[in-house]
Every structure is written in structure tokens, then in C-alpha cells.
């Protein structure tokens, strides 16, 4: 890890990070505030009137506890999409842009190996992602204790977030792998972003009706099973572990590819 580069990148990108923090704060606090133990019933009624739309965004069962409510409203869509957008933007800023414009030449014209440079940039990406998730966790705990007497079940809640981290790590590492392996933005960002967007769309489709349910086997998002994680189901835990393992594999591939390839600098 190159401390100088790590610091420089955070200095250049903290504003973007703060924007995402702001967006997360807005959505999370609004949704937490919306929770009302009695509201569950009326939301259930609403869901019955338009089940497909609710289902598309992963809100199958608004539930009665705070955790069920948040799992449906935040972990189904918002917490997937917002960090994912952050990942795309940062992959562009940390890697694709430097290769595409040629300023990577300056980073490599220093007595450091390519591996070190590339791992540092990955460190910037992942540290930002982890901080976003940690922030969301703290925010939810803070909001829920401030607004309601009911405290969230901490163990289950944290497990959900480790799961969230696994799926976001997966997206981050796949996107970063593409950013390291391709020269042109249309591939280096296009492929990573494409995989993510397609995953999200396929999941939305698969939730709409039983006929489309088979589609869920085509998206990595299925491996993140928030409800399963909360009841510590074995399949859900395995899914999460698989996501982490694939992430690590993607990092290794990215390192090998970036080290060996010709760069257009």
C-alpha cells in the first residue's frame, strides 16, 4: 500500500464520498422514520393492491418488526444501488480514467511495482465502500433508537450487513477487474457497470411473478439472502461466503492481468 497515493486519492475524491453519505442519510433516515409498528398492516393492504410493483423492489413482506421493515425497504434495492453507483464512479476515477487518459504513466514512472499501485487504488475503493456500509449501520442504529423505543435485533442486523458487504465487495471487485483489464472506458467501465445493472434488473423481473422466478439463478444478487442470513440459514451463509471468495478471486485476476499486460500510456 502506498500511503502517499492513498492519501492523494482520498483527498481528490472525498467530496464524492460525502455526496453518497448525504444520499444515504436522506434515504435511510426517511425510511427509518416511516416505520410504524401499526403501519405494517396498512402497508400490507397497499401491497395487496399492487403486488408486482412492491415485489419488483424486493418488498414482498413489509413485516412487523423494525428489522423486517428495513430489510424490505433498504436492503432490497436502495442499499444495493447506491453503493453500486459509488463503485462505478470510483472504478472510473481510480483506474479507468488514468489508463484511458495516460496519466497512469506518472504513477508507474515511480519506483513502485504495478501491483502496489493497483492494490492501493483498490484499497481506496474498498475502504470507501466499507465506510459507506458502516455509516449506514450506525445511522440506522442511531435513528431507530432515537425515534423508537424498539431496539433493533443487533446480531441479525449486523449479519445482514456483512451480507450486504459481500454482495457489494463482489460488485466492486468485478468492476475493478474490468477496469484493470481493458483500455477503453466503454469496456473497462461498460462491462462492470453492465453486469451490475443487468443483475439488478434481472432480480427485479424475477421477483415480479412466479413464472419469472427461474431468472433469479442468473443473478449474483440471489446469493445475498438477507432474510436467510437473519435466521442464520446455511444456504444464505454459503452464498455470502461464495461472494467473498469470488471477490478475492477477482482481485487476484485483476492483479495478474494488470501486472502482465501492455498499457497504452
Amino acid at each position: 500500500m502506498l500511503t502517499v497515493l492513498f492519501k492523494k486519492e482520498w483527498k481528490a475524491n472525498y467530496k464524492i464520498f460525502l455526496i453518497f453519505i448525504a444520499v444515504l442519510t436522506l434515504y435511510t433516515s426517511v425510511i427509518v422514520a416511516m416505520f410504524d409498528p401499526k403501519l405494517g398492516e396498512s402497508l400490507n393492504a397497499m401491497k395487496e393492491s399492487m403486488p408486482q410493483i412492491f415485489a419488483a423492489f424486493g418488498m414482498t413482506d413489509p413485516g412487523l418488526t423494525m428489522l423486517d421493515f428495513l430489510t424490505n425497504y433498504l436492503y432490497g434495492f436502495i442499499f444495493i444501488v447506491i453503493p453500486f453507483i459509488y463503485i462505478i464512479i470510483m472504478c472510473h476515477r481510480l483506474m479507468s480514467r488514468y489508463i484511458d487518459k495516460g496519466s497512469m504513466a506518472y504513477l508507474l514512472a515511480t519506483p513502485h511495482t504495478r501491483t502496489k499501485v493497483m492494490m492501493t487504488q483498490l484499497g481506496v475503493l474498498l475502504s470507501g465502500l466499507i465506510m459507506l456500509i458502516v455509516y449506514a449501520v450506525l445511522l440506522i442504529i442511531g435513528c431507530s433508537t432515537m425515534l423508537f423505543d424498539e431496539t433493533i435485533e443487533l446480531g441479525k442486523f449486523l449479519m445482514t450487513n456483512v451480507g450486504l458487504l459481500s454482495i457489494q465487495m463482489f460488485f466492486a471487485c468485478i468492476c475493478y477487474l474490468c477496469a484493470c483489464c481493458f483500455n477503453e472506458i466503454k469496456f473497462s467501465i461498460g462491462i462492470g457497470a453492465g453486469i451490475g445493472v443487468a443483475s439488478i434488473l434481472i432480480q427485479m423481473l424475477s421477483q415480479v411473478s412466479d413464472k419469472m422466478e427461474f431468472l433469479k439463478y442468473m443473478t449474483p444478487l440471489t446469493l445475498f439472502d438477507a432474510k436467510g442470513l437473519q435466521s442464520f440459514e446455511q444456504s444464505a451463509v454459503i452464498g455470502m461466503v461464495v461472494l467473498f471468495l469470488v471477490s478475492i478471486a477477482a482481485i487476484i485476476f485483476a492483479q495478474v492481468c494488470f501486472k502482465k499486460r501492455d498499457l497504452p500510456l
Binding site: 492523494k8 495516460g102 496519466s103 504513466a105 506518472y106 515511480t110 519506483p111 513502485h112 501492455d262 498499457l263
Partner: protein, 293 residues
């Protein structure tokens, strides 16, 4: 053993683009000019020296180290000026210089400051707003500030005004006195002429000539443009010189030496205008590439 060794490297991009079986060495303390028209493969060769790309065949070594595999070790001894300017635009010039200095583990910034004063560079502004010349100066500061024993400069004077080009020549001459090994690519003869010991010429990816500067100067011809007052004088004059072109009362002539003879001849005619200039690099190239079209 040369400081920079290029042994039979080939990098084929298809469509005759790339470089083919290129070999040359740069000895310690030598300033080598790497000349060639645009797209001839100068930058491709330099990219391999920098370890950005791997040759398909052959090997490139600096200080005996493979340029691709050991790029990080090579870079310790290297100052580099890229041919294309691509900075991190959101930074100010000074921030960027400082950042690269830290990346290169340079503790002492006095050399960088000295260079900025010498090049009259005010690097306080955002690089996004800088002119090409200013960016080029920042690149030069970064390449020289390390005080490294080897310098690789890709078209170092592009974007600089004539005054700055002279300062650059001074900079190279100073570095040469300090015993540095320098490889610089160029397509401008003058900057090479005043700085280099030896010149390697490349065309369409292949080396066409390696000459000492001394020999090159010796072989360099003069280009004359003579306007006669009367067309019949021009015709008469043109008959004496085989390698000349006549257009009405104007004669264009390239000659090596024979200055006295020419002046004596011309004194017999009524001359309207007379221009003499050294042969340009392109014309010299034509000579090396086999006598022009």
C-alpha cells in the same frame, strides 16, 4: 555494456504499425537523439524502455535490468518525460509536482524549486487551466527534479516557445556535464544538433541510420533559394548545376560545401534575392531514406 540496451525488439501492431527489429545502445554519459517523423515508432520504443509494454521479441534493458519485469527498480534511476501530457487535472501544478516527488521518495525539493525558477514556471494554478507550454514545463520539472543518472525524454520541447527551447538546451548541456545518460526523441533537428552526441533515425518502425552528430553535420547540405531578375539568367545558371530545380526566374539548389564556387558564379548574374538555410531534418531524412521521391 551500455546503460540502455535495446536488442532486436519487435512490437507488431499490425498494418505495418509498430517497430521491427530495433537495436541500439546508449552508453554512459552519452546524449542520444532519437529522430523520426510522426508515427515512426519513437514513442513505442520509449514505452518499452519504461516498462509500459512488453516487446513481442527481443529484450530491453536499463542498467542490465529487464525494463518490464524490473520496472520498479529501473524507475529508481530514471527521470521520464512522457510524449503526451496527461496530468491529474484537478490538482494544481505544484501539488502535482509535490505528489510525484513523494511517490518517488524525493525528500529534498530544492532541485524542483530551482528548476521551476529556471523555467520561469508559476505552478500555483489548476492544471486544467494551464497552457500546453506550462504543462510541458511541469513535465520537465518532474523529469529532472529527481537528479537521476538516466533521463528519457519524449519530444521534450513540444509546446515550448523558442526562448524556452534554448533554456531546455542549456538544461541538457548541464546534465550532460554532470555525466547523465540521456535519450531524447525529437523531430526537430536544432534541439538535437546542439545537445546530442549521436543520433539514431527511425522510419516506419525500423532503424535507418545511426550517426555521430559530427558526421551528420559534415553531410548536411545547404539549401539555397535564388531569385534572378531575368529568366534567361536563371536558365543559364541552372544549366551549370545538375541538382537544382527552376521555376521561372527562381532556382532552388542544395549543395554540400562548394560555397566559394557558388558565390563566384552568382556574382556574374543580376540577383534579386538570395536565401540560404541549413538543410532541414526532413530533407536530411530524405537523404538517409534513399534519396527522396
Amino acid at each position: 555494456m551500455g546503460v540502455i540496451e535495446i536488442n532486436h525488439i519487435t512490437k507488431d501492431y499490425g498494418n505495418k504499425r509498430g517497430i521491427f527489429d530495433v537495436s541500439f545502445t546508449v552508453e554512459k554519459g552519452e546524449v542520444l537523439g532519437f529522430l523520426g517523423p510522426n508515427g515512426s515508432g519513437k514513442t513505442t520504443t520509449i514505452r518499452q524502455l519504461m516498462g509500459f509494454i512488453k516487446p513481442d521479441q527481443g529484450e530491453v534493458k536499463i542498467l542490465g535490468l529487464d525494463c518490464f519485469e524490473k520496472a520498479n527498480l529501473v524507475q529508481k534511476e530514471l527521470g521520464y518525460l512522457p510524449g503526451e501530457i496527461a496530468f491529474m487535472e484537478e490538482m494544481t501544478g505544484f501539488e502535482f509536482i509535490k505528489f510525484i516527488a513523494q511517490m518517488k521518495n524525493i525528500k529534498d525539493m530544492s532541485k524542483a524549486e530551482e528548476l521551476m525558477t529556471f523555467l520561469e514556471l508559476d505552478a500555483r494554478g489548476k492544471m486544467k487551466r494551464m497552457s500546453k507550454g506550462m504543462k510541458q514545463k511541469i513535465g520537465l520539472v518532474i523529469a529532472f527534479m529527481q537528479d537521476s543518472p538516466i533521463l528519457i525524454l519524449d519530444e521534450p520541447t513540444s509546446g515550448l516557445d523558442p526562448l524556452m527551447q534554448n533554456k531546455f538546451i542549456e538544461l541538457i548541456q548541464r546534465s550532460k556535464k554532470e555525466g547523465k545518460t540521456i535519450l531524447m526523441s525529437s523531430h526537430i533537428f536544432e534541439e538535437v544538433e546542439h545537445t546530442c552526441d549521436r543520433v539514431v533515425m527511425i522510419k516506419e518502425g525500423s532503424i535507418v541510420a545511426t550517426e555521430t552528430m559530427e558526421n551528420l553535420k559534415k553531410n548536411r547540405q545547404k539549401h539555397y533559394e535564388i531569385h534572378f531578375n531575368k529568366e534567361e539568367d536563371a536558365i543559364k545558371f541552372a544549366e551549370h548545376y545538375v541538382h537544382c530545380q527552376r521555376d521561372r526566374n527562381q532556382v532552388i539548389l542544395t549543395l554540400k560545401g562548394r560555397t566559394n564556387e557558388l558565390l563566384k558564379d552568382l556574382s556574374q548574374y543580376d540577383i534579386k534575392d538570395f536565401n540560404a538555410r541549413p538543410q532541414s531534418l526532413e530533407e536530411l531524412f530524405l537523404h538517409y531514406y534513399g534519396g527522396g521521391q
